[in-house]
Amino acid sequence: MNYDFNFDVIWRNWDLLAEGLGLGLFLAIVSIAIGCGIGLLAAFGMLSRHRTLRWIAVAYVSAIRNTPILVLILFCYFALPQLGIALDKISSFVFTLSIYAGAYLAEVFRSGLVALPKGLREAGLAIGLTEFKIKTNIIIPVMFRNVLPSLSNNFISLFKDTSLAAAIAVPELTFYARKINVESFRVIETWMVASMIYVVACYVIAALLRRLELRLAVPR
């Protein structure tokens, strides 16, 4: 193999890569926040007594989980405008990723809810709380703390999935990496650096989330 490594072009475009990384993180954070809301609703839907509600929630979760995310991204960006829902690139991607995250988080929340001892609800009832207050004050906070590790894993996956935003030309890290690649032909350097940035970012995020988990965990 005869290849002269030359990282100059990478260092010159450092700001672009950083910007791309920032946008990717931003997209992941917004999407997981919205996705948590959707996932919570879907989780309660899946456990609902009403058959229709249950059916809708289960259909949503299994449809999204079994569809490739790239198809969802392209569908939302290229096909939804036909239904009159035209979003710009970034909104469309956030929309897709939120819906996508919602389906995965719904499953996480559902098992979190099922695992809670039913005595918690009864204790809430016994001190005169309504079902709604029991959910907001007891069930959701306790479940949330219990599923934090899965939540972290989901966030990291979502962050990696933001690389797919490049498919609809959202200028995140992978998009810029391709751009640098095409413009400079420093192929190996570009992809080495790009994937290293992802790997390191994932490490750092994982470590930070781990600390957050410890801080938020129920003390014992």
Binding site: M1, Y3, S62, A63, N66, T67, P68, I69, L70, V71, L72, L74, F75, F78, A79, L80, Q82, L83, K160, D161, T162, S163, L164, A166, A167, T174, A177, R178, N181, V187, I188, T190, W191, M192, A194, S195, Y198, V199, V200, A201, C202, Y203
Partner: protein, 219 residues
């Protein structure tokens, strides 16, 4: 939505869509098989390897799992052509998915093996089995049952990830669909259709997995 027009166009495009589906299946099957074989070795090395080997394999897994599959595919596609390995886009894509699959399977195998109580190995040794025999007759059969559900899950992940090969120009189901869309402008209908086909593929895989799981479960 114009349903009869869609059906007509679907019929017209049946051959290219079927060939796309064929490629999707071929890519997935090849990647899952190659990736699983590689993954078993990765898992073994992680569990029973010497310290330096475990370290190297750990790096391998962490690198592959920290990198988005899409980046992995792009990297394989672009880098290999530069270093003179002349792979087609199809081969580069399968290579990327194989690596991706192996890191997942490696992690699964390691988890399953380390979950088997130490006593099993000791009991096998005490009846005079070699390490190889212990692995094949005692550990693997137990680990397999634990591995199966997650392994099936990985297989569906690979099917979904195979769509990413469309971006490097492999005409699998998604790119075949996109080509039809660019001809017919029926994006809503055909994207829904593609989504539905993927859903079916994964559904079938999951059901098959469950059926096998039921059959091999220890009474």
């Amino acid at each position: 939505m114009n349903f009869s027009l869609f059906l007509t166009e679907l019929w017209n495009a049946r051959l290219s869509l079927l060939s796309g589906l064929g490629d999707t299946i071929l890519i997935s099957v090849a990647s899952v098989i190659l990736g699983s074989v590689l993954g078993v070795f990765v898992g073994l090395a992680m569990t029973y390897g010497a310290k330096w080997l475990r370290f190297v394999v750990r790096l391998y897994i962490d690198f592959l799992r920290g990198t988005p599959v899409f980046v992995l595919i792009l990297a394989c596609f672009y880098i290999l052509s530069v270093v003179g390995l002349d792979l087609t886009a199809f081969q580069a894509g399968v290579l990327a998915l194989t690596l991706f699959c192996s890191s997942h399977v490696g992690e699964i195998v390691r988890g399953a093996l380390s979950a088997i109580p130490q006593g099993q190995t000791e009991a096998a040794k005490s009846v005079g089995l070699t390490f190889g025999q212990t692995f094949v007759y005692v550990l693997l059969p137990q680990a397999l049952r634990q591995i199966l559900p997650t392994w099936v899950n990985t297989a569906t992940e690979i099917v979904k990830a195979s769509t990413l090969l469309s971006i490097i120009g492999v005409v699998e189901l998604l790119l075949a669909t996109q080509q039809v869309i660019s001809r017919t402008y029926l994006s809503l209908e055909f994207y829904l259709f593609a989504g539905f086909v993927y859903f079916l593929l994964n559904f079938v895989i999951e059901q098959a997995g469950r059926a096998v799981e039921r059959r091999i479960s220890i009474p």
